[in-house]
């Protein structure tokens, strides 16, 4: 009996001790959590403040072309389709319905005022002084129907029907798809030039070749075939969207007087802007680095200063600020 009491006492004591331990350590843990939460709150508040400050930051007023050097040979990504899209310089055309795959050369006007013809029978010519494919207006491609000895690239153009598709690409791989609306032949001197070459509020691409009888006296066919096409609806819709800003650079770090960051690899980046905090607390754009350069910026007086970096894409859209480096 007495022994049982002892055991009971011991158990109660153990309960008491353990409960005490639980209370104290639990309290400590809770306190730690509270401190963490408080720190987090402070951090968020600081971030919010930063954000507010950044909206007042001084941006550059330099033209994009002056600010960043863009090397043609380094650009491999397709252009983004949005409001900032400025059309493509067509390099290739394919018309699956009539098995055409051709390269495109740029031509202008001859002294006589007519559009120059493609220099080869298998090539297609884009009228360079006119609209670029993809913009509002009429872009024009021309191809030969035949050579002296046989059929040429646009020999079967007459067989195109409504809703057939034509795609043109630029060297970076931007691909635009146009849909045939109608085809029409005109006597050589009666073609409605304004309708074919002039302005339109649609994004058109018109294909021209010769047709009809060959007039030996004039050295040309008597008629011209025009295939009127319009940019496919879904792409036209994409082009009405606002351009999206690229992602901000990451791993922004100050090391000595050198600010460094990781490149942004997506979104046709053409360069980076560096902002430095001035005495008034405003961040000022102090320099730009083009995409092909080393992702670093040397500032001769970097002590005590704060920096952030933004990425800029080919549309001129600027990313949100990176994290602050100091």
């Amino acid at each position: 009996m007495k022994r049982g009491d002892d055991v009971k006492k011991a158990i109660v004591l153990a309960y008491c001790i353990l409960s005490l331990v639980l209370l104290v350590s639990g309290g400590l843990y809770f306190k730690e959590q509270m401190v963490e939460a408080k720190e987090m709150k402070q951090q968020n508040a600081a971030k919010q403040k930063e954000k507010e400050a950044q909206s007042k930051d001084l941006k550059s007023r330099v033209m994009l072309e002056e600010e960043f050097a863009v090397l043609k040979k380094h650009k491999t990504e397709a252009k983004q389709l949005n409001k900032e899209f400025k059309g493509i310089i067509p390099a290739k055309v394919s018309i699956p319905a009539i098995h055409v795959e051709a390269s495109i050369e740029q031509v202008g006007l001859l002294d006589s005022g007519e559009m120059a013809a493609p220099s080869t029978e298998n090539g297609v010519a884009w009228f360079e002084p006119g609209a670029k494919p993809g913009v509002k207006g009429n872009a024009v491609l021309a191809g030969h129907v035949d050579s002296k000895t046989g059929p040429a690239v646009f020999y079967n153009l007459k067989n195109l029907k409504k809703d057939d598709e034509i795609t043109v690409r630029d060297v970076q791989g931007t691909t635009l798809t146009f849909v045939v609306k109608r085809t029409k032949s005109y006597p050589r001197d009666k073609a409605p030039l304004n309708e074919i070459f002039g302005y339109s509020n649609k994004r058109n691409l018109n294909l021209i070749t010769c047709t009809g009888t060959f007039d030996r006296a004039e050295g040309t066919h008597q008629e011209r075939l025009v295939v009127y096409t319009e940019l496919k609806a879904d792409q036209a819709k994409e082009l009405e969207r606002e351009a999206t800003a690229p992602k901000p650079p990451t791993h922004v770090k100050m090391s000595g007087n050198l600010l460094m960051w990781y490149a942004v690899r997506e979104g046709n980046i053409i360069g980076y802007r560096i902002y430095k905090k001035n005495l008034g607390g405003t961040f000022v754009h102090i320099g730009s680095v083009s995409e092909f350069e080393r992702k670093s910026f040397a500032d001769s007086d970097a002590s005590q200063s704060h920096y952030y970096v933004t990425a800029v894409n080919e549309s001129g859209k600027e990313s949100a600020p990176s994290s602050i480096a100091k």
Binding site: G4, V7, I11, A14, Y15, L18, S19, V21, L22, V24, S25, G26, L28, Y29, E32, A69, L71, K73, H74, S255, G256, N257, L258, M260, Y262, A263, S290, F292, E293, R294, K295, S296, F297, A298, S300
Partner: protein, 447 residues
Amino acid sequence: MMKLSQKLMISVLGASLLMPTIANAEEAQPTAVTKAADLRANLDYLLSEHFTLAVAAMTTACDGSKDADAAFKALDQNAVDMEPAIASVYGDKGAAEFERIFREHNNYTDDFVKATKENDKEAMAEVDKEVNQFVNEFAKFLSTATEGKLPEDAAKEALRVHEDQVKETFEDYVVGDYEAAAKTYREGYQQMFAISKALSNAIVTQMPDKFDNTKVDTPAADLRSSLNSLAAEHFALATMGMEKGFNGSKDYDYVSWLENANTADFKAAIGSVYGDEGAVQFEKIWEGDHINAQAELVSAQVKGDEAGEKVAKDKLHKFAQEFGTFLGTATDGNLPTADAQAAIKAHEDTVIKTFEEYASGDYAGSYDTYREGYKLMFGVGQALGEAIVKQNPDKFAETAMPTDMPKTGMGGASESTMNPLTAVYIALGSLAVLTAGVILRKKPVSK
């Protein structure tokens, strides 16, 4: 004029690579320039250069770059240059055998590139087999030559790691994982210095008399080797980065990362001797008119901006003056400022020349200058290392050192490491156990 001063510097700084050092065995002052340290530095130089050229040969061959042939020739010439170093220890016969095995293994790089590019599994297996044979044969050669001072298994392991690193760097490069390729490149580069240390240690242990009983792993020799590694890596990365920048290569940014990592290590090395303030000062000088100016030279060249090129080159020459002054001051003149400035200028000149020859399409010339500039860095490492050792003899005194701290206590009277959450769990667990105990105990009682 530039060429003359450059040659002069090489003969001064690079002297130890070419001539045996006169060692003062009786002098108690620590020094980074002993016969053993010289051997280690020479192997550091040749083996690490082998790594940089092997990767260059493989990646350029894979890309079909115009400099691929020049890269392979430089790799082969590096193997030929190893012969005198080996001959000085193992005679002409040993050196010939060394060259036969070593030079042969460079040829695998070409087969491996072809197999990888064509994704030819069979050919790849064949190359793997050849590489295995090389690892076995060469490990056996090294072990026999050193009379077992470098055990065959250890040699095999070291060579295996090296071959894997070259292969991995290349494979990551081929699939476009430049981040991984960059990481392995750095590891692979550093591994060469580990191989060099093991091999030179084995040779020196085997023939202590030949090396005046000096050791390869004194603190002073370690410092010299570390500085060699950092300086030469900087040169390799600078020239590689500039060429990638010039070509607009996709991995340009990743080489920049490696340069940043190299800078951080260099800063730490300077900091370990001259403290944080010295390290910060080093970094500022090192990056602004140096690393960044090299990048500016590339950008100007790419843009065809001649004025910009001149500005960048002027910055690099200004850096030579500034950094030379920094080193002269930091070492209390143990490395005279004028010598340091001349050495840094010679270095910048080889960087610029390697790049400009490359940009103008003179690839053979570019790789020749690369090899010249790479070797120069080992003179820099020696001169700087020795100056630091002479300035701080206490820091580099050879003392017996344990491998671990003593375990001076049992913990009975100290706070133990436990965080509050652990205490909560333990208390809860104990309560549960106790409760279970009570219930179990109560059962028989209630009966």
